[in-house]
């Protein structure tokens, strides 16, 4: 449910709403941290030591920071698969499937275009992956608009279908049988692969994700398109009455969201694996949904949230090794933060004085 006039359109620039959101988020995270600490203390762990280690593992050393960035990079893009349709009031949870289709598309394109020169090949490969992801979720959007099929279920089902398709293809029809390690597709040419940002051990996917989020933010806030999407998301009837092309907006939003997640899948292929395989199915999509909701469907906040969640994931390993705390502890913490942030949303508009209270 969204306010009819989103804050972004009310007060350009640094607003009371933004400050309040930040304060509330900090309060919520603190509350979650306290709860988590209590939970750990009940289990017999030294909560303070755990927090120090959490910080160390997430941001404490250059290595940790790079690990956090590595974890966060794909989330920047998969979150958009939920975020963009959410701006127009759709609930899409199909990022996982879009990532898979993006990876498949990229792998197949890379193989098909293997005679192309390096840079062009990379661009086309990535673009094909984005296109594949976009068409996949775009199909769900079409089903919604032309057939009235609920997009939440259709994208959920499409997740499973995409994964089954991936497994089927890489186990047989497009399988590289010389690879005895796992069932994977033919590999894309090495010249198409992208490496790390010079000086850092994080691949270029991070930068791509940051740029996409920044551009999206500009589009959503400063273009007519963004405004139209806000209207549609706020009040469908008002949108109809003002004559907005609803169908096109629905298709476009779903396509764009799917393309972002597809891009993440393509980057996994082009920067990490070099081929499509089951390693594309590691929960990047589902984590993206979490990021989108925590960021309240705001692309700039996505960057911050992805870093926080990436940090928690990155330090999870250290927690396991140093304190014998199960991997699930990071999930519990993420869940607590999420619940806390959501509960704190009830104080929105009541914490700081407003000029024009809704």
């Amino acid at each position: 449910m969204r306010e009819p006039y989103p804050a972004s359109q009310q007060d350009p620039g640094f607003s009371i709403e933004a400050l309040e959101s930040l304060l509330l988020a900090l309060l919520a995270i603190t509350a979650a941290a306290l709860l988590f600490g209590a939970f750990l203390a009940l289990q017999g762990h030294d909560a303070l030591a755990v927090y120090r280690t959490l910080y160390l593992g997430a941001f404490g050393t250059r290595f940790s920071l790079e690990s956090t960035l590595t974890q966060a990079a794909p989330l920047l893009l998969t979150a958009l698969c939920t975020l963009i349709p959410a701006r127009i009031g759709l609930l899409v949870i199909g990022a996982e499937g879009a990532v898979v289709m993006g990876g498949l598309g990229a792998a197949l394109a890379g193989v098909a275009l293997s005679d192309a020169p390096g840079a062009i090949g990379t661009v086309l490969t990535i673009a094909t992956g984005a296109l594949a992801g976009g068409l996949w979720i775009g199909a769900a959007g079409a089903l919604k608009h032309f057939r009235g099929v609920n997009e939440t279920i259709s994208t959920l089902l499409l997740n499973y279908i995409a994964i089954a398709l991936l497994n089927h293809l890489v186990s047989g029809p497009i399988r590289d049988f010389s690879q005895t390690l796992k069932a994977q597709s033919w590999s894309i040419p090495k010249s198409f692969m992208i490496g790390n940002i010079p000086g850092y051990s994080v691949h270029w996917g991070l930068l791509i994700g940051l740029v996409v989020c920044a551009v999206l933010h500009l589009v959503l806030r400063h273009t007519t398109l963004g405004f139209a999407m806000d209207i549609l998301g706020g009040n469908r009837r008002a949108a109809q009455m003002t004559g907005l092309p609803i169908g096109r907006l629905v298709l476009f939003a779903c396509f764009l969201g799917g393309a972002a997640a597809g891009l993440a899948g393509a980057i996994e292929v082009v920067a990490v694996h070099g081929a499509a395989s089951e390693s594309l199915v590691v929960g990047l999509g589902y984590a993206g949904i979490l990021v989108a909701f925590l960021a309240r469907q705001n692309p700039l906040a996505v960057v911050v949230v992805a870093l926080v969640l990436g940090g928690i994931s990155a330090s999870g390993g250290l927690l396991q090794r140093r304190f014998d705390i199960p991997h699930a502890a990071t999930t519990v913490l993420q869940g607590l933060i999420f619940l806390s942030v959501l509960a704190s949303g009830t104080f929105r508009g009541r914490l700081l004085p407003r000029r024009n209270a809704p």
Binding site: G57, F63, L181, K182, G317, R321
Partner: protein, 375 residues
Amino acid sequence: MTKLISRRHALAAGTNTVVAGTILSGLPLRALAQTPKPITVGFIYAATRNDFGWNQAHAVAAKRIAQLPGVKLIEQERVPETVEVERVMESMIQLDGAKVVFPTSFGFWPFIQKIAPKYPEVLFVHAGGLWKDTDPKNTIGYRGYMEEPHYLCGIAAGMMSKTGKLGFIGSKPLYFIFNNCNGFVLGARSVRPDATCQVVITGDWDNPVKEAETVNSLVDQGVDVIVANVDSPKVAVETAERRGIMSCGYHTDLSTLAPKGFLTGAEWNWAKAGDFVQAWQTGASYPNLFRGGFKQNMVAISPFGKNVPKNVQDSVLQARQGFVDDTLKLYKGPLKDNKGNQVLSAGQEISNTDNPFKLSVKWLVEGAIGSTGLQ
């Protein structure tokens, strides 16, 4: 830090044939006289380590390795087969000072190949036999030939089955799964030439509902002995027990799960890697590729179930001795695959340690009903 290590890897030149013999027994006395330096050993698991299956087998070994003098053990679970495992390995090395790392999932190999050159003072031990001469010298690929204990399970199954129909549940269409299946069928048919084996691939390393459904379907088709090559065979064995059929185990000792129907099981002896840790500690030499069956003590069989009669046990143990003595060859001619092609002609024998042959197995033996999908 200078380390005088003779990195002589005892490989037969140019081929990936197995190094027989243990390292520990080959260490000169003066090496043993040194007190081993403290060394941190890190184990990385793809899933949870008490899964009664693949990961547990490694965790059991990890515990045994932790008993070695000077060894400090750190473990991390639930690491997926993506760039994340690189970060985890590096984290163990940089933040915890690990000098030996065991990334225990089969799919971690490409990431090991990438990271190992950056850390020449760290030894990377991978549970898979894919090492080649072009790979970093501070890596080891080690893996037991599971087809041998599967052969023994097959003997027990063939002798105990009433219907002569066996079932093999595999997780993914990969070469070692098919070798295990072949071992199982060959063992069964060595005591019962008309035995058949239904082969079903679930497609997932770990999917309890599918595994239970598969066991039920197999039993409905008349199968009365199953073996499950999945990450955690617990569900399959328990479901088999509930349906009243017999089962064989895999990875670790599952005999307690099926008091009535358990025959025996194929187990790993990953703790052999303790030898590599000690070699690294003391600067002795080690092999880069270590594959072996019973002869090299890399595999074992589970204790027999209560209802396994003595004559069956004797047959199994006799065959086991055959592997230990290397008098029993698993793949020997005449051998046909299940599509009618002649794979081995009469008199042809494949050495039990012929790694390239096993890597190239893309077929199922006669008697197995199913296909590999490999070409």
